[in-house]
Every structure is written in structure tokens, then in C-alpha cells.
């Protein structure tokens, strides 16, 4: 069947059509054993009132959606003269450069983390957004990049810069290796195999004590050191990340609008048609995995340099899911969207520090709601068919 078009059926509103009281009762009964009668009662009252108002809520939600649609369409179609676009872009750059002078360390720390996640999200976007291959084990490459630098530095004393090409190269190679089995597999099987790969890497890091010191992790990693500037101080590290993040954006943008980028998009749209017009689809899937892994390796090395400590606990499946959320929230295949997705999902939890506990709860339900109501994410201009 031709690339299946995304049609959200009407069955979605049938949930609300059923008598609201019954639905509210149903959820409170489900909740009852977990938190006892009192909490269930409160939930029942809250739910039933909200669903009863659902008619107005639904229509409100619809109008919200239309407005949202209009806004995001208008954003996409704002005919900004190139001059004012030029001004906007460079004033943003100036602010980013001046940031360390009037912001305290704690926020710099978050800005650095945001930079690292932007590089990761852009890397995953190449695999999921451009080529349409769901990679659930992306954190494995992040870990390989981090541990390669950590080991080279602590065991052999090699500095950040000489070991960077090696850790990034090794990660790209492992991207290639993972892709080989993935070539013959269809979407959902591929997702599970990549997930398996991610877990195997984490288990090896956790259990190969002689090399990786197991769950205790490796500490005392040297931060990068360049021409007399020790990047230990946060503001210096901030600039390092800023440069690398901008480099990532420019390079990925250029590859996207080149012959290679077009081939990836073609594979996402319709793999059979792509091979019928001369694209060596298996080879380009390998490139996508390796290229995506390359950036994860870079982010890993930068993370290790910043934290000066790596342990398997920071490279779990949840990390892969978080990066995937950034790509989906931002908009599959849209570079500015993915950047915004990364910014939101790093800064929001910090701003809502007291709700720290509910962060993953929101992430989980967010994924479900995104898939149902906004599969294209915030900026995904094109309704993407996450190739079957």
C-alpha cells in the first residue's frame, strides 16, 4: 500500500461520548486499590466534573487546536524578509555568547546540558526523523562515546582533543555495526533490536569490572584543555558546547539539504520507490545509523569531559526515550523543531523543580498524547509517516 497517510479516526471522541459519569467511575475504581478510598473519591469528583464539562472542554480544545494550527501555520509562512531573519539569527547568537556574563553557574550548568541534548537529539533525528528508522538504543552510542574518552583519559592519560576523533570514530563504527542486523528488519522489530543493543551495551558497562569499573563508574576524568584554557570553569565549558552545538546544527542542516539528505527522506517516504530510482537503500540506512551515532559519540565525550565522571546509571533506556521525546515533540525531521524539543525537555523539568517527581509521569502521558493529537510535533511541517 502506498506510504500510509496519517488519518486520525473519529473513534477518538467516542471515549467522551460514553456517559461521562461512568468513565469517571471506571477510572476511580482502577485507582482505588492503589491509594485507598479517600483518594479514589477525590479522583472521581475531579474526573467527573472535568468530563461533564467535556463538551465545552472538547469544543474549547478544538478551537485551541485550530488556533494552534493557525499559529504554527502562520509561523511557517511568515514571510520574514531575509534581512530581518538575518538580524534575528545574529541577535540570538549575541545573546547566547553574552549569556555567561550575567547568568549564575547553576543556569550555565543547565545551558551546557541543553547543548549536549541538542547534539544528541539532532543525531537521533537523522535516524528517526530523516530516515524513519525508530532507534530505541540510541543511548548506547552516547555511552560508548563517553566511556571511550573516559577510558582513554584515565587509563592512558590521553587528553580530550587527541581522543575525540577516536571516541567519535568508534561510536560511528558501532552505529554501522548495529545497522547491519537492522537492515533486514521492519519498523517495530528494528525498534526492539536496537533496544536490545542498548541494553547489552549498558550491561557490558555494568559488568565488565576490569575495564569499566562496573556500577561504580569512572571518576577523575580530565576536562578538555586547549592552549592554556582549562575548560573546568563552567563558562569556558559553556562556550565549548556552544561551538560544538552550532557546528552540529550547520553540518546536519547542510547534509539534510544535499543529495544524501534527500536520499534519507526518500527512504523514509517509500523505501521501495527509493530503490526503484537508484538509491542503495541498505547502504544509506547504514550511513544514517553511523552518522547519527557519530553525533551521539561527540555528545558522550563532551558529557564525560563536563561531569568528569561516568557511570552506567546515566545511560539507561529512559535516556533513549527522553531523546526520542525531544525529536517527536519538536517535530520529526525538522531541525529547528528538534532543537526546541531539546530545550523544552531539559529546561522545563529544571524550572518545575518541585514537580521533579512527576517528570517521568508527564513524559509518559506526553508521548501518548503526542502520538494521538499531534504526531507531527510542534514544528514538523510535513505530516511524517514514520515508515511502517
Amino acid at each position: 500500500m502506498a506510504g500510509n497517510e496519517l488519518r486520525v479516526t473519529s473513534s477518538k471522541n467516542s471515549i467522551f461520548k460514553a456517559r461521562p459519569i461512568l468513565v469517571a467511575l471506571w477510572f476511580s475504581i482502577l485507582f482505588l486499590p492503589f491509594k485507598g478510598a479517600k483518594a479514589a473519591l477525590i479522583l472521581f469528583v475531579v474526573l467527573s466534573t472535568s468530563i461533564v464539562l467535556s463538551r465545552s472542554l472538547l469544543s474549547y480544545a478544538k478551537s485551541l487546536r485550530e488556533k494552534g494550527q493557525a499559529v504554527s501555520n502562520r509561523i511557517r509562512t511568515i514571510k520574514l524578509s531575509t534581512r530581518s531573519l538575518f538580524v534575528a539569527r545574529y541577535s540570538l547568537l549575541l545573546i547566547l555568547i553574552a549569556l555567561p556574563f550575567f547568568v549564575r553557574d547553576y543556569l550555565l550548568d543547565i545551558a551546557i546540558l541543553t547543548g549536549i541534548y541538542i547534539i544528541l537529539a539532532l543525531g537521533l533525528n537523522v535516524v528517526v526523523g530523516f530516515t524513519g528508522l525508530l532507534n530505541l538504543g540510541f543511548v548506547a552510542f552516547y555511552a560508548i562515546g563517553a566511556y571511550t574518552y573516559a577510558l582513554l583519559n584515565t587509563a592512558l592519560g590521553i587528553g580530550f582533543w587527541p581522543s575525540l576523533p577516536l571516541s567519535v570514530g568508534l561510536t560511528a563504527l558501532s552505529g554501522f555495526v548495529l545497522a547491519v542486523p537492522a537492515l533486514r528488519l521492519r519498523g517495530d522489530y528494528l525498534a526492539i533490536v536496537t533496544l536490545g543493543f542498548g541494553e547489552i551495551v549498558r550491561l557490558v558497562l555494568n559488568n565488565w569490572d576490569s575495564l569499566t569499573k562496573g556500577p561504580n563508574g569512572i571518576s577523575g576524568i580530565e576536562p578538555p584543555y586547549l592552549m592554556g584554557i582549562s575548560f573546568w570553569r563552567l563558562s569556558n565549558y559553556y562556550y565549548l558546547i556552544l561551538i560544538f552545538a552550532l557546528l552540529t546544527i550547520v553540518i546536519i542542516k547542510r547534509v539534510y539539504s544535499s543529495r544524501i539528505g534527500r536520499a534519507w527522506i526518500a527512504i523514509r517516504e517509500d523505501e521501495i520507490a527509493s530503490s526503484a530510482i537508484g538509491i542503495n537503500t541498505p547502504m544509506y540506512k547504514l550511513y544514517a545509523f553511523a552518522f547519527g551515532a557519530f553525533w551521539a559519540g561527540l555528545a558522550g565525550a563532551l558529557f564525560a569531559g563536563k561531569m568528569q565522571f561516568v557511570s552506567p546509571e546515566s545511560f539507561t533506556f529512559m535516556e533513549s526515550v527522553l531523546i526520542l521525546c525531544m525529536v517527536i515533540l519538536g517535530g520529526l525531521g525538522s531541525i529547528p523543531g528538534v532543537i526546541l524539543g531539546a530545550i523544552i525537555l531539559v529546561i522545563l523539568p529544571e524550572v518545575l523543580r518541585e514537580f521533579q517527581l512527576y517528570r517521568m509521569l508527564a513524559l509518559g502521558s506526553g508521548l501518548v498524547l503526542l502520538m494521538i493529537f499531534r504526531p507531527r510535533g510542534l514544528f514538523g511541517g510535513k505530516s511524517v509517516s514514520l515508515r511502517s
Binding site: 509561523i75 545573546i95 547568568v103 549564575r104 569490572d209 561504580n216 571518576s219 561531569m307 526546541l340
Partner: protein, 367 residues
């Protein structure tokens, strides 16, 4: 691209500066959430109790003492980032962290910032061997604990073949290795291996151990895994005595293993606070306010008092001066006399062997 406008807005949104106010800030760091939240709460209760007492007497250096609570969720990465946060917020001293796997990486941050850190519970020797001037601990060290355990097996139980397993964590593996080291050639270790923390099924490794016919199984690790190991060993018909360290001395261990299976388990831990005369006053206050005493509550209480006394005697908020003061002073607290050696460990750390008897822990043997 026009979308960069939106990026610009979101970045401006995040710029905010915290306001300043005049108090002496000390930080507590430990697992406040996650599966070891109980240990973190013990910390918080004891430190708050000590700080309230000091504030009642006018605080220190004429200023009120404020407590900053940092949750590292037992994750080394979080430990480093909360450590940075506490340093940024101007903490004068730190009580914490709880797990050795968090204290070690966090100590790099505190050392660089030059502020003192006193951990009430991280027992891995590595913490004080990095030569950091400002790192102290009021609890014992695994090697001291391992020595007492080995002495007990050699001299008291007079066994020849033992098994040593650990949960591969900084604490668990550290304790197991120390125990093995002090056994020397006197006792043969027929099996040495690791299990994965958080795992539930140990039948396979216990079967392999049963094959080796040991006279005792030593486990370096904490109560959840210890409880499962004992229970599943008994289910496999492996009835040899089981021994572990201070990470297992928690009523939950008996609840998980079942009183019958846990009967006769040996545990190394510091002397029973109930027996120490100076601790009586603290125990009554703590129990009155928070109920059941955690294994490390008394240590956190003493650690706080030591830190605040050092700040008072040093007469300044400057980290370096407080650290020197901590090295030179002698403090008598709930645990009795406490003096730090030049590496930051307590000079005297007597460990004793406890035993579980019909569902309760009792002191059993002294080196």
C-alpha cells in the same frame, strides 16, 4: 529560519537570578527519593534536630543556620550535579552523601570548592584515600569492618571453606574485598563472584555455590538482595550460616527473608547505641519526634554537631579554616569521643558482630 525566533524567546525565559539573604547555609546530600529514600530521611531528621538545637541557642557566628536538602537519588551523576548546586548556593559545609558511589565523585566537587564534607555512612576506604583535605567520615571503614568479620570467622567460628559474594557496588564489593583480604591464607575462599543489584532471582548462583559445599556465605551488599539471597538459599536446602555487613542491618532484611530463614545470620555493625550512655539523650529526642531510629541517624546527628562546632571554633565561614579546625579538634558527641586522623577517618571505629535471634538483631561478639 523563522523558527529561530521561538528559540530566542525560550532562552530569554530561562534567565533568572536567585536572591541573597544572610544565613549560615549547610547542605545535606543523600537519596531523598528512590528505593533508599528511608536512609535519606534518617539523615534529614537527625540534621534538622541538631540544627534546631543550635538555632535555639542563637545559631552560630551570630547567624541563623539554614539547611539545604539535596536529593542525589543514589545516582552518581545526580550526586555531582547536586554537589555543584550546593557549592553554588554557598554551602559552608556538607553532611552527606549516603552511598559511597555518590560520595566519591561528589568529593571531587567539594574538594575543588574547598568546603568540608562529613559523611555519616559511606564506608568505602577509597573516599578518604584520594588525599582530599576536606573529606571526613564519622562512620567506620569497610576495611575495619572486614577485619572484624574475618577475625570472627577465623577465631570464633574457626571455619575452613567460605564463599564471598557482593552486589558489585562501591560499598558491597569494597566490603567483600576487605573481608577476603583479612582472611589471608587461613580460610579458603571457594567461590568469589558478583550479583546484580536490583535483581530478584539468585537461585542459579546459589546452586553453583551449593555445589562448592561452603561452611559460610559472606555477602557484601544491602538488605533487599541480602534478604532474597538468604531466603532462596534456604529454599535450595543450603542451610550454612550467612554473614553480611552494616548495609544489611535493617528490619526489612528479616521481613524479606522471613524470620525462620534469617535466624542466625551474623552482621558486622558498630556497637548498639542503646548501650552507649552518651547516646541515650539523642535517642529519646529522636524517637519522640520521628519514631524508629535508622541505622545512621546517630551518625548524621554527630556529624552535624561536629561541623557546627568547628564553624563556631574556627570563627569564620571560610572552608579552609573549618577544615583545619576539624582536623585538630576533639569532639565528644552521642557516639562518644570522636577524633579525625589526617586522612579524615575516625581513629577509633570499633565494629562488633551482631546476630539475628527470633526476628531481632542483638550484639553478639567483640574482637
Amino acid at each position: 529560519m523563522k523558527k529561530y525566533l521561538l528559540l530566542f524567546l525560550s532562552i530569554v525565559l530561562t534567565l533568572s537570578c536567585a536572591k541573597k539573604e544572610e544565613t549560615i547555609k549547610i547542605g545535606i546530600a543523600g537519596p531523598m527519593t528512590g528505593d533508599q529514600a528511608k536512609m535519606g530521611t534518617d539523615f534529614k531528621n537527625s540534621v534538622t534536630l541538631a540544627v534546631e538545637e543550635w538555632n535555639a541557642k542563637g545559631g552560630v557566628l551570630g547567624k541563623k543556620i539554614a539547611v539545604m536538602i539535596a536529593d542525589d537519588q543514589r545516582d552518581p551523576k545526580q550526586a555531582v550535579s547536586v554537589a555543584n548546586k550546593l557549592v553554588n548556593k554557598g554551602a559552608v559545609g556538607i553532611i552527606g552523601h549516603f552511598n559511597s558511589s555518590c560520595s566519591i565523585p561528589a568529593s571531587d566537587v567539594y574538594n575543588r570548592a574547598g568546603i568540608p564534607m562529613i559523611t555519616p555512612a559511606s564506608t568505602n576506604p577509597q573516599l578518604t584515600e584520594k588525599g582530599y583535605r576536606g573529606v571526613f567520615r564519622v562512620c567506620g571503614r569497610d576495611d575495619q569492618q572486614g577485619k572484624v568479620a574475618a577475625g570472627f570467622v577465623i577465631h570464633q567460628l574457626k571455619l575452613k571453606k567460605v564463599v564471598v559474594i557482593h552486589d558489585k557496588t562501591t560499598y558491597g564489593q569494597g566490603l567483600a574485598d576487605e573481608f577476603k583480604k583479612f582472611l589471608g591464607g587461613m580460610v579458603e575462599v571457594v567461590y568469589y563472584g558478583g550479583i546484580v543489584q536490583g535483581d530478584k532471582d539468585f537461585k542459579t548462583v546459589l546452586t553453583a555455590i551449593k555445589d562448592k559445599k561452603p561452611e559460610l556465605i559472606f555477602f557484601g551488599g544491602i538488605y533487599p538482595e541480602a534478604g532474597l539471597l538468604v531466603k532462596q538459599a534456604r529454599e535450595l536446602g543450603l542451610s550454612v550460616p550467612f554473614m553480611s555487613g552494616d548495609g544489611t542491618i535493617d528490619p526489612k532484611f528479616i521481613e524479606i527473608a522471613g524470620a525462620q530463614a534469617a535466624e542466625g545470620t551474623y552482621l558486622t555493625f558498630s556497637p548498639d547505641p542503646q548501650h552507649i550512655p552518651t547516646a541515650k539523650e539523642f535517642i529519646d529526642k529522636y524517637k519522640a519526634r520521628y519514631g524508629e531510629l535508622g541505622p545512621y541517624s546517630i551518625y548524621a546527628y554527630d556529624a552535624t554537631n561536629i561541623l557546627l562546632t568547628a564553624v563556631k571554633e574556627a570563627g569564620t565561614k571560610d572552608g579552609k579554616a573549618i577544615i583545619e579546625r576539624l582536623h585538630s579538634m576533639e569532639f565528644s558527641g552521642a557516639l562518644g569521643k570522636i577524633k579525625f586522623d589526617n586522612r579524615g577517618d575516625v581513629t577509633v571505629a570499633p565494629y562488633v558482630v551482631w546476630i539475628t535471634k527470633n526476628g531481632k538483631f542483638e550484639e553478639y561478639w567483640k574482637l
